[in-house]
């Protein structure tokens, strides 16, 4: 049953790594803006325009 000492050490270590990851994310400002990325992901980098689209001119 002494394996439990080792396993608990592992689990605590793993949890600490996750906590550290969260601190890093928080400090680097990843949680500052939680809304805009959800919109941004829906915007295409470059919409390919149909050739005969009368609404647009191509530059």
């Amino acid at each position: 049953m002494n394996i439990i000492f080792f396993l608990i050490g592992c689990s605590v270590l793993l949890a600490l790594i996750f906590l550290g990851a969260f601190f890093w994310a928080q400090n680097s400002g990843q949680n500052d803006d939680l809304y805009t990325p959800s919109v941004r992901i829906l915007l295409d980098d470059e919409l390919t325009e149909p050739k005969n689209d009368p609404d647009h001119i191509n530059s």
């Binding site: 928080q26 805009t36 915007l43 919409l47």
Partner: protein, 797 residues
């Protein structure tokens, strides 16, 4: 019968109806050349996708004025930018117009318009854009002009800049919650074996788990829960017992007893309860911290005034930051610019709109040599003025030197929570010591166990959480109805008021520019005649007509008489023009619908040409005043003269409850005198002139038709469209307080239940670990559901 088919067309850029001259380009129609030029810029840079994400995403560009010369001044630039080296400048702009995905897309593609702008990133909720550009290739002024060209004009005001630097950082709380949550989870995991019981052969695990628990409890105590100790200590030194004291006491006792039990092998300790308690408390704190990034409740005159003003030095214009404006400087004020300091008029025809500063709805004319007070907005030609007082000492800004603004006003009224927790603490200490003394003669161990158990179990976790959770639920209900509160304490203040004071201009009436309606079809020649006649008059209604007709070249009348109380009679280009009231035009016939609107009739050469109607547009929902009057004392406090007294008696039947012609300082004093009578006053106003009254009142609400525009410092910001819900808001705030009372009773029941175990000294860690989260969960569920039901009942959801 011939029927006309009307095709409704919209401007491709801004979506306005196309009524007048249409500008066309590439098969698209535009309402004005401004909109067309934005489209041109975008199509040239290949950014027409802007129009594909949303229909008509643009801002109307009919009126544009670009005055960014001040952005060339290094002294001003220094205050605005985030970072600068010899290559790159980083700056964050606040752009109020950001409203849709097209906005995000376009602003982040801005480097296609100008490659010198490397990077731009939009924060949608905060309506901010961070831009990085090459300062050797492009100047800050050029960046701002580029943004303005595509319809995203940044709002640059000195106060918002200052605010950015002193911005509050809620980052700390999130990290504390993270640590507390992390420890809470681990401690729970390690405590389970103890709850289920360990067989004899596994005793050594119990000690190991116990010490690990103590280890996990240390960061919770020292890092996450630290605030409770510092706050309790500070309050204790000031002789105040607030809710943080029993909380800190509970946390400390939990920790000490855990360490004691673990080190003496006498029990499992209460590390799980400790971590859970701190975790839930911090979550409650987090929920309470609702921030509206796009709103500012602290604005004063600095964000109303421009960043810089043009001074004339030896006949040359030079932009100067407002703070460096000195007495004796000559300043140039153009159409629709704000006069930033008290000054003497030297040149030009001043027609100044003071509506925001004094509440006076009609523009005021000033002649050469007269003093013009700061805050007015010039309507018409450019003016030259000489500054006679620095900005900070002008007539208007002096208001901010009043003690009402320097006084710390965090707790103008103690919240229910604060009042109760004082008694709660006394009773708690009494019970704890009573049980200590009761057991002490017979059993010392049991006495200490009972004493600590009382402090642990009565730790007012649920009590501390009931207010934040109820209030945050209430806040989001208000938020959905376009009523934005500064913080949660405002809800309780709102429930307690008994007197409501309204400002007039802009508060119970809508903004002035929607008032004039022309009931006539005038050709350009007649418009010119009317404009010419009105242009000679200083009567407020004439000024409004001129403003309505826009810029027309006036003709000098050959004859001109102004008949007091009736109107104008003039001969212009051989035409006889009569402009005036019913009496003047119809020679004393009775006007049927007099009183509802102010009408100005027009008569050109014996032909009746229709009339202008000046509708004083009262806000929708003003009728609720009659209902509110049953429960509240209602007052009207206006900076305007009493020319609308007749109309207002419908809403304010008691003449003594109306005050007219009050200066900003007098408004503040009136609120103070009402308070001296023992009244708890809510002030609703919109302009700078109400700032003092808003600050002095127990609850100041700023009303605005566009929450992104300037609103004076206040406790809450009400969107003009939600004005008719005011009485519902007030009722709902009372419901909220009732919910807090009820949830307090619930948490008290839990406490009594726990205490009945605790006083006997037989509180098991499992019991504490179950009781604390159970009471917390009950409170959270109860407050959220009850607030939701109350909001439904008031039809606010």
């Amino acid at each position: 019968m011939q029927t006309d088919t009307i095709t409704i067309a919209f401007c491709y850029h801004c979506g306005n109806d196309l009524v007048e001259a249409v500008h066309r380009l590439d098969e698209h129609s535009f309402c004005c050349s401004g909109c067309k030029s934005v489209y041109q810029i975008l199509s040239k840079s290949g950014l027409c996708n802007y129009y594909r994400y949303n229909d008509h995403p643009g801002a109307n560009r009919a009126r544009v004025d670009k005055r960014y010369a001040y952005l060339d001044e290094p002294a001003i630039i220094k205050d605005l930018i985030d970072f600068q080296d010899d290559q790159v400048t980083t700056i964050t702009f606040y752009v109020p117009y950001i409203h849709c995905s097209s906005c995000i897309w376009l602003l982040e593609q801005i480097n296609k318009i100008d490659p010198a702008i490397y990077y731009s990133r939009v924060d949608f909720l905060k309506k901010r854009v961070q831009i990085r550009f090459d300062n050797r290739e492009i100047s800050l002024r050029k960046v701002v002009e580029t943004m303005a060209d595509i319809g995203y004009e940044p709002l640059i005001s000195l106060q918002d800049v200052v605010k950015k630097q002193a911005g509050v950082n809620s980052n700390g709380l999130v990290k504390k919650i993270a640590v507390a949550g992390f420890c809470f989870g681990n401690v729970m995991l390690l405590s389970f074996p103890e709850y289920f019981g360990l067989s004899g052969s596994m005793q050594n695990f119990q000690y190991f788990f116990g010490w690990l628990n103590v280890l996990f409890a240390i960061p919770v105590l020292l890092y996450s829960g630290r605030e409770y100790f510092t706050s309790a200590w500070n309050n204790l030194r000031n002789g105040v017992l607030n809710i943080d004291f029993p909380l800190a006491l509970g946390i400390a006792v939990l920790f000490l007893r855990t360490v004691f039990e673990v080190s003496t092998h006498s029990g499992a300790g209460f590390a799980d309860t400790l971590c859970g308690l701190v975790f839930f408390l911090l979550v409650g704190k987090f929920v309470q911290q609702k921030t509206y990034h796009h709103l500012s409740f602290e604005r004063d005159y600095r964000s109303f005034f421009p960043v810089a003003v043009h001074t004339l030095v030896n006949g040359l214009e030079k932009p100067v930051p407002l703070s460096e404006l000195k007495t004796g400087d000559r300043i140039l004020i153009r159409n629709s610019e704000i006069i930033p300091a008290d000054a003497i008029l030297l040149k030009g025809k001043a027609c100044i709109d003071f509506s925001f500063v004094t509440g006076e709805a009609l523009p005021v004319a000033r002649v050469l040599g007269e003093i013009v007070y700061a805050g007015g907005r010039q309507m018409g030609e450019a003016l030259e003025l000489e500054v006679i007082k620095p900005v900070s000492q002008s007539y208007l800004t002096q208001l901010w030197n009043n003690e009402a603004f320097t006084r710390k006003q965090d707790n103008r009224m103690g919240t229910f929570n604060q009042k109760v927790s004082k008694y709660f603490t006394y009773v708690l200490l009494l019970i704890a010591f009573a049980s200590l003394i009761w057991w002490l003669p017979t059993n010392v161990n049991r006495a200490i166990a009972a004493f600590t158990a009382v402090l642990i179990v009565a730790c007012p976790c649920a009590l501390a959480l009931s207010t934040p959770f109820t209030m945050s639920a209430a806040l989001s209900v208000f938020d959905k109805n376009a009523f934005y509160l500064k913080n949660t304490a405002v809800v309780e203040q709102m429930a307690r008021i008994d007197t409501i004071v309204f400002d007039k201009t802009g508060t119970i009436t809508s903004p002035a520019d929607q008032h004039v309606i022309l009931y006539s079809k005038l050709d350009d020649a007649s418009k010119q005649l009317i404009y010419s006649a009105c242009n000679n008059s200083t009567h407020p209604l004439s000024r409004q007509i001129c403003q309505f007709l826009g810029n027309i070249a006036p003709i000098e009348p050959s004859e001109y008489t102004e008949i007091a109380g009736q109107g104008i009679s003039a001969r212009i280009n051989g035409h006889i023009v009569l402009i005036g009231n019913h009496k003047l035009i119809f020679h004393g016939q009775v006007d049927q619908d007099a009183g509802l609107f102010t009408k100005v009739h027009l008569k050109i050469d014996e032909y009746y040409a229709g009339y202008f109607s000046f509708k004083n547009q009262f806000r929708k929902g003003l009728d609720q005043l009659s209902e509110l009057r049953k429960r509240y004392d209602i007052y009207l406090l206006s900076g305007d003269k009493d020319h609308e007294l007749e109309l207002l008696t419908r809403f304010f039947p008691d003449q003594n409850s109306m005050y007219f012609g009050r200066s900003p300082q007098e408004k503040l004093d009136l609120i103070r005198s009402l308070q001296a009578e023992g009244k708890i006053v809510m002030m609703i106003g919109d302009g700078l002139n109400d700032s003092g009254a808003l600050k002095q009142s127990d609850l100041g609400i700023a009303i605005t038709d566009n929450v992104n525009n300037f609103s004076p410092g206040s406790d809450a910001i009400l969107d003009g469209s939600a004005f008719d819900k005011l009485s519902l808001f007030l009722r709902f705030s009372k419901d909220t307080v009732k919910i807090i009372h009820a949830s307090f009773l619930i948490s008290l029941c839990y406490n009594l239940f726990g205490l009945s175990f605790a006083v006997t000294g037989r509180l098991s860690p499992l019991m504490a670990a179950v009781l604390m989260p159970a009471s917390t969960a009950t409170i959270i569920a109860f407050t959220s559901i009850a607030a939701h039901i109350a909001a439904k009942k008031r039809r606010l959801l």
